[in-house]
Amino acid sequence: MPDTDSTLRGPISKKLKEFTVVDMDVHIHETPAALAPYCEMPWRKSLEHLSTVPQRYLDIPGFSPNLSVYPSFPDSGGDRRSTVSSASQMRQDLDSLGIDIGVLFPDALLSHASIKNTDYAVALARAYNRWMVEEWLDSDFSLKGAILAPHHDPHAAAGEIMRYAGHANVVAIYLPTSCVDPLYGHRRYDPIYNAAQDTGLPVTFHSVGAIHPVFPFNLQGFETGFANHIISHPFSLISNLVSLMETGVPVRFPNLRIVFTEGGIGWVPWIMLRMDKEYQERRRDIPFLKDRPSTYVKKMYFATQPIEEPEHMADMATFISLFDGEDSVVFASDWPHHDFDHPNKVLQIPVEDKVLRKIMGGNAIRLLNLNESVT
């Protein structure tokens, strides 16, 4: 397998060199062995044991339960390194991609919401947060962290948010989104949104491809990764966005900033218009909204990856304009995962440079309260 050092020699365009690029989503490789020393007992025992069992990409029993039910053929998954194991390796990779600042998310714990044992899930989240802060954020100031909030115990999640909010390189809260039950609009999660609002950290909904009997349901009906991947990511974001709206989260937490990652952005105008349409008829179901749902959607942030790639990238400019995304679309690469986007692709959207600068970095700098100036 060629190492990324040789496969990442893509051309760095002039704009890419010139612009400040903030990447809302890059992934670090947390193995059970790496987290074990940071994990409390008795769960450390479990991580030590899991370190000895065979592991596959984003699929570790009891840690990243992926339930892969599809046949597997050789050379279907990109012949290059798809994990990043140290801060220095991440810095080198991001340099090769022309990215200045990266916001870190996990690999295996993308499936964190599917773990059932509450105490174990909380211990894993705590171990991950300790490990990330100590081994990644303290060594490279261009790497920023999102604190994993275990949905299983919203008070414990709020505790994690408060614990790390003061750290200079903690810039967001990560809410594992696929397989979450109940959906994130449920009032049990209010402590998380309170903590987010109090600390000024945005909440980031990040999806993953997973088969699970809760929404996005019916994924078990598909027989290919093709179908699963298309539906699982955007639908888990869509269902949670609608859930936030139906319980009035954007109204009840007016200063809460909300980000959606890893579903692309093509779905945003569609669900926004569907919600407005229903609101016209069913306003009394959700009387706490003060205006149409689109008013609130337009204040949320949407990360680009996996960016849709129509034949004419001008169509993406239209999509973005439909939800006034000039100030709310944020670049994400998803490096080093199989479907990462090179920043040059997003730079192909034919909008004015001043808009591109916002999408590539300016919007994220404002969202994450970074001390950068936009170039």
Binding site: R9, G10, F73, P74, G78, H338, H342
Partner: protein, 119 residues
């Protein structure tokens, strides 16, 4: 004006092998597929990934002739881009997912035990 550029000695490119060289400021991948040589640019039409560093493989097909059953075919003819796994047929430069898009191909010649590409 086209010219011939030395790629390597034939011993350096056995069946199933590939070599990536820089010719006239372009990176070119030269492949030996079943004893025949093919040359492709090392730039993927998707997001410009270095496709010639990808795996050489076969692929899956299904059609009326196979009664819609999946069939493993083209072993050794298929190049899979290391960035996002887009498949190409090395022998034609065709992209499998985008039938209307294709890579430019270059002539490969052999003289005196050495392989040349014409560009």
């Amino acid at each position: 004006m086209t010219r011939e550029y030395l790629v390597c000695e034939i011993d350096e490119l056995p069946i199933g092998g590939r070599i990536v060289v820089r010719v006239r400021n372009r990176e070119i991948g030269v492949f030996n597929v079943g004893g025949k040589y093919y040359a492709l640019p090392n730039v993927c039409i998707h997001q410009n990934g270095p496709l010639c560093l990808g795996a050489v493989s076969g692929t899956l097909n299904a059609s009326l002739e196979t009664e819609w059953k999946l069939e493993w075919s083209h072993e050794g003819d298929i190049l899979v881009c290391p960035w996002h796994s887009m498949e190409y047929n090395i022998t034609t430069g065709e992209s499998l997912p985008f039938r209307n898009r294709q890579l430019p191909t270059f002539d490969v010649l052999v003289h005196d035990g050495r392989i040349f590409v014409r560009m």
